[in-house]
Amino acid sequence: MNTHLFSIVTFIYLGGMVVYICYLAFRNQWVSRVATAITLGGWLLQTFAIGLRWYESYQLGMGHAPMSNLYESLVFFSWTIILLYLIIEYKYKLYLLGAFVTPFAAMGMAYASISSQVNETIQPLVPALQSNWLISHVITCFLGYAAFAVSCGVSITYILKKRHEDQHKKGGLLASFPSSSVLDELIYKTIAIGFPMLSIGIITGAAWANYAWGTYWSWDPKETWSLITWFIYAAFLHARITRGWRGIRAATLSIIGFVAVIFTYLGVNLLLSGLHSYGSG
């Protein structure tokens, strides 16, 4: 039942994405309202479906939060991206951003629904996952990932806009984008959410590992890649206040950072081996 709803959510997000892209072209307020309404509707349905999946896991006698395998994490990932995006849209009225952020959520959901690598069934928890750390670790990591997804979307927008400004071009689609300084501020803001969340995610993971395996840090590929991501965003935060690194270079670091996020999240499980293999099935 819940997987059926998630498939519908995938189409809704794809629809929202298309309307957001239309808004980019037409700049009509009503288009943006429709885009927001579609996306919000999809998000509400997704929230309901996540709750339903949680409930169904109890019906099946397993009873665990829907955050335990790749399918569930992809669903949760796109859920947090949309949640964070809707908050930012509401706060900053930056409807343009939707075209750059909703694709991440739509792709996440589509990958979860379509890929044969992703098992949709509710699976019981293996012993290592039976812990109260599960929810706090997963929520903080994915809030971080979602913030980084948004910042990556803004960074792409920023680089396009900045080049446009530097060439003193007038007109065109890019002319209607918010100024590069507004976008720069927004990159910083989203990373300012993502970085503490990633830090807490790494710390809760370390605390959990210490509880389950007796060591808080073992240079496991998942741990190492989360640290690599942390290093890159730390470099971004310092680049932003360093002459010669501000602007496009810092924005590029934020995009590289998100590539590292994706590798930490998906690449490690799909390509490398290690202790943290729950997310691969």
Binding site: G214, I241, R243
Partner: protein, 467 residues
């Protein structure tokens, strides 16, 4: 950041405290860390030789990439990073300390020019109650804003006495970044303490056995005496219908000087701690079988119970020799469960023979020895795999993590907001005052802009009597 190379500091210091070095080191750490996630770390030599040539293995071993996170060069980068962090923090700290020690409390025109938010107005002396000085009047009005934490300074200006008011919020957020830097050093210290004074070991204990020796996890597998005894009284494993393990638990008892000191059923995520050591449920496996026998002594007619671990020698119950259950087959020669026993015979000779569970009289009839054996049962026994650690640095690490999270939150989410108000006589009209306000925030500037607008309309309302 300004390059203060000319201010006399040595080029070495300038190199270590440059933010460019910080960025370079962070990117380098990120890049080299990838190596260890691609090349498997700390495997046995044979494992590597399956993928690499002997010479390649030698080079990799020499470069330290097979244990790169503990290699001299990775540690070198970390040390350089730490030096950079400390030197940078010390260099920039005085700039921040100024906000604490000598905040700008006077709103001069030159200072106002540096602020992003300013506001100017004039008020008439008529609006001020007769029995009050305008300073007291303004102080009273301001006390309603930002819970009245306003600092008043009197200054002789060009056109008479000027009054300056200053208030700030979130000053402590300036410390956030230093707390984060400090936390990294605390975490490093915790890690160093753990690796020098800690222990990472493992031990496998078969059900019903006990041990006081564990083995280090490094290559040497050095035995370590715990100084007390751990007994695994029972081990259980449960599976889901799919065959995946649901939970596995060990009933552990800690014994010291023969007395029970602690007892816990441990499972994954629920370890047992005793005297600084923590025992984690890490794995399990088969410890082989246990054979339950009866020994019939034909001379005395006595019957002795006897149990043997498969593959190990055991003493005879009569104490005058040994016996070994050398092999167990579930269906030997289609005669059902059978065990091959080995015993010393006369001289150096050994005898071996099979006994069958289904045929208790077989050994007596077949061998006709002084003692014959009856196979009663064979049971499989599990061992519990325990991870044993002692890490006196772990609390230092958690303390560092706590400081880091706290520091990150105040650094990112709390803004240092400052407001200034200046009241001075208007040079053009004696019964009028010039009112100037300035504001500054180091974070969330759009948010502060709104707050500043709110503040100026508050001033307007209070001082001009506008409702």
């Amino acid at each position: 950041m300004k390059n203060k190379n000319k201010s006399g500091s040595s080029p070495i210091i300038a190199f270590f405290c440059s933010l460019k070095l910080t960025i370079f080191l962070l990117i380098t750490l990120a890049a080299v860390s990838i190596i260890g996630t691609i090349i498997p770390q700390n495997e046995f030599k044979e494992q590597y030789l399956r993928f690499y040539q002997e010479s390649t293995y030698g080079i990799m071993k020499m470069l330290g990439v097979l244990d790169m996170y503990h290699s001299w060069w990775f540690r070198g980068i970390l040390i350089l990073f730490t030096i950079n962090l400390i030197v940078c923090s010390f260099k920039h700290f005085p700039r921040i300390w100024k906000f604490f020690k000598s905040p700008v409390t006077v709103l001069s025109d030159s200072f106002l020019a540096t602020l992003s938010l300013d506001w100017k107005s004039r008020i008439s002396a008529k609006n001020i109650a007769k029995d009050k000085s305008y300073g007291d009047f303004l102080a009273e009005k301001l006390s309603a804003f930002w819970s009245g934490s306003w600092l008043q300074t009197k200054k002789e200006g060009n056109f008479g006495e000027e009054l300056h008011f200053f208030a700030q919020r979130g000053l402590w957020s300036r410390m956030g970044v230093y707390l984060v830097h400090l936390s990294i050093i605390i975490i490093f210290i915790g890690g160093i303490v753990g690796s020098h004074f800690g222990l990472k070991a493992f031990v496998n204990i078969p059900e019903g056995d006990k041990t006081s020796i564990v083995y280090t996890r490094n290559d040497e597998r050095t035995p370590v005496d715990l100084g007390f005894t751990v007994e695994c009284q029972a081990f259980h494993v449960e599976f889901y219908d799919s065959g995946a393990p649901k939970e596995y638990t060990s009933d552990l008892v800690i014994l010291e000087d023969g007395k029970e000191k602690a007892r816990k059923r441990i499972e994954v995520n629920h370890p047992l701690s005793y005297h600084g050591y923590t025992f984690y449920q890490s794995s399990y496996g088969s410890a082989g079988g246990v054979v339950t026998l009866q020994m019939h002594d034909q001379k005395t007619g006595k019957v002795y119970p006897l149990s043997l671990s498969i593959g190990r020698q055991g003493t005879l119950p009569t104490g005058d020799g040994w016996i070994q259950a050398a092999q167990y087959e579930t269906n030997y020669m289609n005669l059902g469960p059978a065990v091959r026993l080995v015993m010393p015979a006369s001289g150096d000779r050994m005898i071996q023979f099979w006994i069958f569970k289904k045929y208790p009289g077989f050994d007596r009839q077949n061998r006709k020895g002084e003692r014959d054996f009856v196979l009663e049962d064979v049971s499989q026994r599990n061992y519990t795999g325990l991870q044993v650690t002692k890490d006196p640095g772990v609390w230092i690490v958690w303390f560092g993590c706590f400081i880091m999270v706290f520091g990150l939150f105040i650094a990112f989410f709390i803004s240092h907001r400052r407001l200034w108000v200046r009241l001075c006589p208007d040079p053009e009209k004696p019964e009028r005052y010039q009112l100037t306000a300035g504001g500054s925030a180091n974070k969330n500037k759009p948010g502060f802009e709104k707050e500043f607008e709110h503040f100026t309309s508050f001033l307007e309302e209070q001082l001009k009597g506008k409702k």
